[in-house]
Structures are given as C-alpha cells and as structure tokens.
C-alpha cells in the first residue's frame, strides 16, 4: 500500500489534473463503494450521498442516454426510480442525451455534454451532481473535467464498476440500490426537517 | 451585420428548389398547407445557392 492516499475532493483541481486511477485510487470490489478515493461499504456511501445531496444548495442529476431512452427492458423502471430519487432529494435534472461534441454550442440550461460538462455546471451554479446512465468512458471524462475546473461535488451511480474521479462512486447500481438510496434520502430529509422544526421552535 | 438569406414570402410558390440546394440542414422549412417555405436566418451562412436556384426571385442575401 502506498503511504500517501490520494484524495478525490471537489476541485478546481487545476489546469490538467491527472486521472485518480493514475494516482493509485482503485475501484472497489462488489459490495463496496468509494468516498473521496477511499474504499467504504456500500451502505456508508449511500448515506454519504444522501447527506451530500441534501446538504447541497443546487443539486442536479445528469441522466445519460442509457437511462433517457427506453431501449431495453428495465430502463423505464430504473428511470422512474431515478426521477423519484431526484425529487426526493430536491434535485433538478439536466439530461445528457448523447456524447457528440456539439456544434456550434450547447445550451447549458437544458443539456450537459461530456466534452465540456463544466459549462453546464458553471452556468447553473451546480454544487452537487449525480451521473447515472452514462457510458463509463464518457462519464469518466466528464467527471475529470468537472473536477479539474469546478468545485462541484460529483456522485456516480454506476451500473458497472464505478468511477474513481467521482467524489462518491457506487458500483452495480441497479434498481434495488437506487430505491434503497431513495429511502435513505427520504429518511434523512425527514430527520433534517424534524431537526429544523425543533430548532425553529 | 451578418449576411443571411431573406424571403419575400409573397413571391414564394413552394417549389422547394431552395430546400434541395441548401448545404445546411433545417435552414428552410416547408409548410404544406401554405405551400410556402420559411427561413431560419440564424442557421444561414449566406452562400446564395438558394437565390440562384429560386425561379421566382423570392430569395435574396443581405445584411440584416
């Protein structure tokens, strides 16, 4: 093990930061997740996601093509679950319908592009975001660029092995895990609301 | 300040020669009911191919 543990924190990380994988951050095994470059249990990560989403001023979900188009069985269900999650977390949604470098410009109000995701982040002052349904290659690119040039806190709900350049990364994020996350977010929100209610009393 | 195509709608007979000669997509839209085209000037590069193609002299390229 390396003595120096690289931390994947919100940026801006600089001109051309290295990919976290190049700095020794490894993707975890099944049942585990990453928080800021550290391997943790799935459950811990789910709670941390809930905390970050609820603590954010302007959280956004960025669903990608795999989730936007009803191309195979199971997508619609998962999409409903994500929508539910976003609503529960009080997050807005901006889609990433494709990956092309768009000409002549994107409209950062309504879309996000993996080649310059920072534009959408800057434009909308997004301080926390969730990637879901994006092919891993493009998600990794986007997460790295976001970390390089913005201070946005990134969360990846990956159906495959996860993403080191997200501050929190889940792997094998299927329907069950998403629903569990929604439950946690909902519970936490109620707790917070309760606490606020107590405070304001 | 920039050039783009302008339509004199009254001259348009809906032949769509402009539609077939424009190298750029969706600059011209065709309305079947009106039998007329419309122009999306923001997408036009002002080459003038449609002006040459138009049999009714309904199109011109000019600065806006």
């Amino acid at each position: 093990m390396t003595a120096f543990q690289y931390q994947v924190l919100a940026g801006p990380e600089g001109y051309l930061p290295p990919a976290a994988a190049m700095m020794g951050v490894e993707l975890p095994d099944k049942g585990e997740a990453l928080i800021e470059g550290q391997v943790v249990s799935d459950e811990e990560a789910l709670h941390k996601i809930a905390e970050k989403l609820l603590g954010a001023e302007n959280p956004f979900f960025f669903p990608g093509p795999l989730l936007l188009w009803a191309w195979r069985d199971g997508v619609e269900e998962k999409a409903r679950a994500i929508k539910d999650l976003a609503e529960t977390a009080g997050a807005k949604i901006i889609p990433m319908p494709d990956y092309r470098p768009k000409y002549p410009m994107i409209n950062p109000d309504v879309e996000i592009n993996p080649n310059h995701p920072n534009l959408t982040i800057w434009h909308n002052n997004i301080d926390a975001c969730v990637f879901v349904g994006v092919h891993c290659h493009y998600a990794n690119m986007a997460l790295k660029i976001i970390r390089g040039g913005t201070d946005c806190y990134t969360i990846a709900l990956c159906a495959e092995a996860g993403h080191e350049d997200a501050m929190i990364s889940l792997r094998d994020a299927g329907l069950e895990k998403i629903k569990r996350l929604t439950t946690i977010v909902g519970d936490k929100k109620r707790q917070l609301a309760g606490r606020e209610a107590i405070c304001s009393r | 300040m920039y050039v783009s195509v302008r339509l004199a709608e009254e001259k348009c007979n809906g032949c769509r020669m402009c539609v077939f000669t424009c190298p750029d997509p969706n600059v011209f839209n065709f309305y079947k009911d009106k039998k007329k085209i419309s122009v999306n000037a923001s997408r036009c590069k002002g080459c003038g191919l449609c002006v040459v193609a138009c049999p009714k002299e309904a199109l011109s390229v000019s600065a806006g």
């Binding site: 093509p65 188009w69 319908p97 092309r100 310059h116 | -």
Partner: protein, 389 residues
C-alpha cells in the same frame, strides 16, 4: 467436427477445470485458446511466423467454432476491419508480426483510444531493414505508448493462458482496452512443448456489448447520435482539455487493469529466490534462457534470483522497486538491439547503475545460456562482487 461447448466463467475455465497435457507448438496453443475463447470473428493476413496460427484459426472457422473469418488485404486493413467488427459489438481475434505490426501501426492507438477490447497476438520478429523473419522483439519497444495492454508470454503455455486471460481482462467494463499478447516468434510459435489445456467442451461466456464503457455500433444502443471517435469540434481550450481528458481516461483504464492482471496472471511479475542480491530480469523467451542460466549459476554457488516480467503495459514499477530493493546487480538479457526493457527498468528503479543492460542478441540469433552466465559474471566482476571469472 465441432465439439458442443458450454459457456463458463473464466475462473471455471482456467482455474477450476481439470487440465490435460498435450505436446503442441505455440501456434497450436493459439488455436486451442481461440477455440475456447468464444470468438465470433477473426481476420487474417499472412506473415511469417504468425501465419500458421491464423491457418489453424481458419480451420476452427471451417469447423464452426468461429462464425466469420477472412483474409484481409494488408495488415493495416486487417487491423481496421477488426476494429470495425469490434465496433459492431462482438468478440474478435487477430494476429500479426514484425513488419505487419509496423504496417498497421496507426491502428493500435486507435484501438486503445476508442476503447476496443480487441485481443491480438504478436509473434515478434525482426523488422526491416534488412528483412528478417527471425525472432526479435524490437516491435514491442515501438508499441509501448500505444495505450494497449501488453503481455509477454514466455512459452506456449503462457501464450495459451494469456490469450484467454487477455479477454477476461480486456473486456472488464472499467478496462475495455485492446490487449496484445506477445511472444518471440519461432522460439515459441514453432517450438513444440508441453502445454496443459482445460477441456475443449468449455468456452468463455460471450462478450456482452451492453456493459461496454462506449456504446456498440449497431443502432440498437443509445445514443444513436454518436460519432466514434470525434474530432472535438471546437478548436479551443475546452476541446483540447476534453481531448487530454480522454487520453487520461485511456491511461487510467490501463491502471485499472492491474487489479485484474494480478488476479488472473497471479501478479504482473514473478520472482524466484526473492532474497537474492543479484537478479536476472527478463520477459518472453529470455526468461526461459534466464532460468537455465539461473540453474547453472546456482549450481556454481551464486545466489542469483530471477524476475519474470509478464505485463509490460501496465508496467510493474512498484513491484519491481520492491523486488529489487536489496539487490546489488540486475542483469537484463533481451532479444532486440534497442534494449527497451533495460531502459524501462532503469527508468523504474532508483540507483539504476545497478542495471547491466546485456546481453542483447538479435537478428534471429539464439541467446545461449552460457552468454547470460558469462555476462552475469562479468557484471559481478565489474561491481567487485567477484574476484575473477
């Protein structure tokens, strides 16, 4: 005729099932691997010493193990066609050698950049000029920075295993990179050797294109509006940064392969006699020659160890630093004139004056065990570790 095959996991195929010993050439070992790899399509172009393996793959096609196979018009075209087939979302195989590798050079970074899990066997030989069909692995020195994963097989057994393991590593969604399995031509391809094979009625589970980090090209996977792989359209800082980030992702993918390589290969390198103060470090056939030298030297009472480097990309830098920490002398025998492995090792470890970048033979020459033995002794002498030879 074709054997009915059951699709199983790589673990079951390679680690759990009983193996049977056969006496075959390296080329035959390739065919045995491809037979069990559930490959859909292969494309071939003749070049010595690779041809034989692709003939045998052709035979597999004729028998029904593969679903398509043809001879392309040249290596560049073959590597492009394999790329197209891979874009289409299926598992592919091809092989080439020496000048063929160089002719197709432009395609390798393309494979890596577009994240295609193509497995290609490279039967290394000399490159022009002068032409030579004989073993030599200079081409590996030229491929180091293509972004491909590079494994160097010592013998036919390695060759067989590394091709199958290659698919298992290359197709991991977080890796999804091309993988080259390199062997030294003739020394492996044409040498008959004992190889342990798992049953032929088992094959790898099929490739699943829907797990790919990039969409398959079939108009069945969203997004439909996609260009592979784009010239980032705007010429501006943002596009350059996106391009750079794309490249970093390719490097990162190779890093992620380490974990899987460790698991399937049992480490990126292997050490014999880890306590030795003097190591022979090699890859490919030079390892086998090194093993013989090791025997001879240890018989004379020299405490020599051996480090076999299996993965050239990613390179086992940390493992090498650890393994050589206490070593006083490192002898690196190679089958090429450029000495790329010695350069890699020198760049990877500190106090690199410990590295003796020899012996080097090339042009098809064999590396006699005696040559390594005498180089080791010469190096010891120079270091003052030995009084006289």
């Amino acid at each position: 005729m074709v054997v009915e095959q059951k699709a199983v996991s790589v673990d079951e195929l390679l680690f759990a099932s009983p193996r049977k010993q056969v006496f075959i050439t390296g080329s035959e070992a390739v065919a045995e691997a491809v037979k069990r790899a559930n490959v859909e399509m292969a494309i071939a172009y003749p070049i010595t010493p690779q041809s034989e393996s692709m003939h045998l793959v052709g035979d597999l096609f004729a028998k029904g193990y593969l679903r398509d196979y043809y001879r392309g018009e040249n290596e560049f075209a073959v590597m492009a066609a394999v790329h197209g087939a891979s874009l289409g979302g299926g598992r592919v195989f091809t092989a080439t050698s020496g000048p063929g590798t160089l002719r197709a050079m432009e395609m390798f970074p393309v494979w890596a950049g577009s994240r295609q899990p193509i497995v290609c066997a490279f039967m290394c030989r000399g490159v022009s000029l002068p032409p030579s069909i004989q073993p030599e692995n200079i081409e590996m020195g030229m491929l180091l920075d293509t972004g491909m994963i590079m494994l160097h097989a010592e013998n036919a057994q390695d060759f067989f295993d590394m091709i199958l393991k290659g698919y298992a590593v290359a197709e991991q969604p977080e890796v999804h990179l091309p993988l080259g399995v390199f062997v030294d031509g003739f020394f492996v391809t044409h040498t008959r050797d004992l190889v342990m094979l798992p049953p032929e009625d088992l094959k790898l589970a099929p490739y699943d294109p829907t797990c790919s980090p990039v969409p398959a090209f079939d108009m069945e996977t969203p997004p439909i509006r996609i260009v592979r792989d784009p010239l980032l359209n705007k010429s501006n800082f943002i596009s350059y940064a996106a391009n750079a980030s794309w490249h970093q992702e390719v490097l990162a993918a190779a890093e992620r392969a380490r974990k899987h390589l460790n698991r399937y290969l049992g480490g990126l390198l292997e050490v014999e006699y880890p306590d030795a103060s003097l190591f022979i470090i090699a890859s490919g056939t030079a390892v086998s020659q090194g093993r013989e030298a090791l025997k001879a030297l240890r018989a004379e009472g020299f405490e020599v160890g051996l480090i076999k480097i299996k993965s050239i990309r990613p390179f086992p830098t940390a493992e090498l630093i650890a393994a050589t920490e206490k070593a006083e002398l490192l002898v690196v025998p190679e089958f090429n004139a450029g000495g790329w492995l010695a350069r890699e090792i020198k760049a990877a470890i500190d106090n690199n004056s410990r590295v003796c970048a020899s012996p080097r033979v090339f042009g098809g020459m064999t590396m006699p065990v005696e040559l390594i033995v005498s180089e080791v002794k010469k190096a010891m002498l120079a270091k003052g570790l030995l009084k006289s030879v």
